[in-house]
Symmetry: C2
Subunit: 339 residues, 2 copies
């Protein structure tokens, strides 16, 4: 049965049934003209919005409906994490093609609900409409941060070390495997890459810990790759940057994939895209605070990859030599900019 | 020049330049991973999201880009008004076809910005992406309301009078005129209908005044027409309703349009759709509070159209006789349900 056969009211009821009961801070949840939310005491509101558009950000050929629901929320939680905010609620706006199976719509909502539950996020409301062509999942996520504790891109200063979380390149390699017709579920390394593309894990606990400990002077997430993120953070901070390519942590399955196709894996990983790891700037004398964060948040690993510099140019060093700065990854998101 | 020719970063800069400077409560505005907002003291957060999808909710054949920007914000402010909330900020998510003219994108943002300014709303952030086909404007609006002062659909009780603001049917008649190829700008009455479709005026001041004065026990907006709204408010309140069709205020140009095409104008106006007026329930003994609201908010007129009843059926009386309840208007929004 398609969503068009079922009709709007019955579909809405089925989708709402997939959601966990909203938290006590949701004073009015789905079903009225708007949601009403009890803010935390003495907190500031942090809000972000990000959309996944079919044929632009995902293909249903290799992303299941549950993957799409998961990822649509994850990319928003990643933005909140990059601000150091505790995620609290989301509004889910769905534009569905009329011929979409009801089962697929329900599975999408289940994938989203499961991810929301795992981060203590309540779906407070949303909107449901027809899309003439292609599925659009547009989410707004809201969170909270203590006064003056939020992390900006612009806070970095010359001499701050640049750190990244986790490993890079996996999501992009996974997408390339899908696009090339190779099923990345064949071996563990490739499967990890496929998962990085389909089910990104936003670094929510890390972002919160960095902000609470005052351990980072600037931060942003790697939605458009490390090369793009370093450029943006350095520019916003009025700095340049020097990054040591040899220290960049490349996802093992991505390294194997790019090596097998004759490409420089570290450069591909730096161009990256959709890793949803965090890049952050830490003055060397704050190392005690960063150690505290690492004790609290064991996963993922954190790696020092470079430093912010007074000269405003961007320099990549590799095997002891300076190289041109790699361009950011815009292949599958031309025309896509996000706040 | 198209948005695709210009590229994402340059387009974003041009669109942001159209926005008024954010208010002082926007601690971090567009340009970082998320926005940070200072909540009002002792207020509750009210949030809603609503999307306009090309070929579903509007046609560029008769809606200018500025109309689309205006309306996309207006339908969200209407939802906040229906909760009695003071609108404060919006996040604007745009999915743009690659062949859209940059001028059109800028005009859309200007129309939105002008409407935002007129209601003291700051655009705190957003998202920009490609749309393979058709323009999508998805907005999340946030506002504030005092504790326990918000207006729900479910607060009505048997014996409460039902009131509507303004006149009904104009937006639907205007859309019909456009669809039939008639230019509604030919005479004043028709022009008013065209404007109701293209540039709805959300009843922000009325909603706030009703909530502050404690003058309404339940409220919602008429996005899907009066017939649908009465059904929803009565059902949510566990009541039925009796509406006197002869007292329903029909937009004069709509009355003329439907009369000229041989239809019962009051029934068409009750089915309506997109009027964005408010329906609200007031116990007769609260008439003093309602008078106070009318002194504060002179426009639009308020009209008593019926009453909530203990029996749960919906009854329309017309010329002294009971009639079947008219079906809601879903012609151009099949598959569209909104919270």
């Amino acid at each position: 049965m398609t969503v068009s056969d079922l009709g709007e009211h019955a579909l809405l009821a089925r989708l709402l049934a997939r959601l966990p009961r909203p938290g006590a801070h949701i004073l009015v949840g789905p079903g009225d003209d708007a949601a009403v939310i009890e803010p935390g005491r003495r907190t500031r509101l942090v809000v972000t919005t990000d959309a996944l558009v079919e044929h632009v950000h995902f293909s249903r050929a290799w992303c299941s409906p549950a993957d799409i629901g998961h990822k649509a929320l994850a990319v928003n939680l990643s933005d909140l994490a990059a601000m150091g905010a505790v995620p609290r609620w989301a509004l889910v706006s769905l534009a569905l093609p009329p011929d979409l199976d009801v089962d697929a719509a329900e599975a999408l909502m289940s994938g989203l609900a499961e991810h929301a539950r795992s981060h203590g996020v309540s779906v407070a409301g949303g909107n449901l409409t027809r899309s003439p062509q292609g599925l659009v999942v547009d989410i707004t996520a809201g969170g909270e941060v203590s006064p003056r504790k939020w992390l900006l891109r612009s806070g970095g200063r010359p001499g701050d070390d640049l750190w990244v979380s986790g490993t890079l390149g996996g999501a992009r390699a996974g997408l390339e495997m899908f696009e090339s017709g190779r099923n990345p579920d064949g071996d563990a390394g490739s499967e990890a890459c496929g998962l990085r593309h389909r089910r990104p894990a936003p670094r929510v606990r890390l972002g919160i810990a960095l902000a609470r400990a005052g351990a980072a002077r600037a931060a942003m997430d790697l939605s458009d790759g490390l090369a793009d993120a370093v450029r943006q953070l350095a520019t916003a901070s009025g700095c340049g940057a020097r990054v040591n390519a040899d220290s960049v942590p490349v996802e093992p399955g991505a390294r194997a994939w790019w090596t097998s196709t004759g490409r420089e894996s570290v450069l591909e990983a730096i161009r990256g895209g959709e890793d949803y790891e965090l890049l952050f700037a830490v003055p060397p004398r704050w190392s005690g605070r960063l150690r505290h964060v690492r004790q609290q948040v064991a996963e993922p690993d954190l790696t020092r990859i470079g430093v912010l510099t007074r000269p405003r140019d961007l320099v990549l060093t590799r095997k002891g030599r300076d190289e041109a700065w790699p361009s950011g990854f815009e292949h599958f998101r031309a025309g896509d900019a996000r706040d």
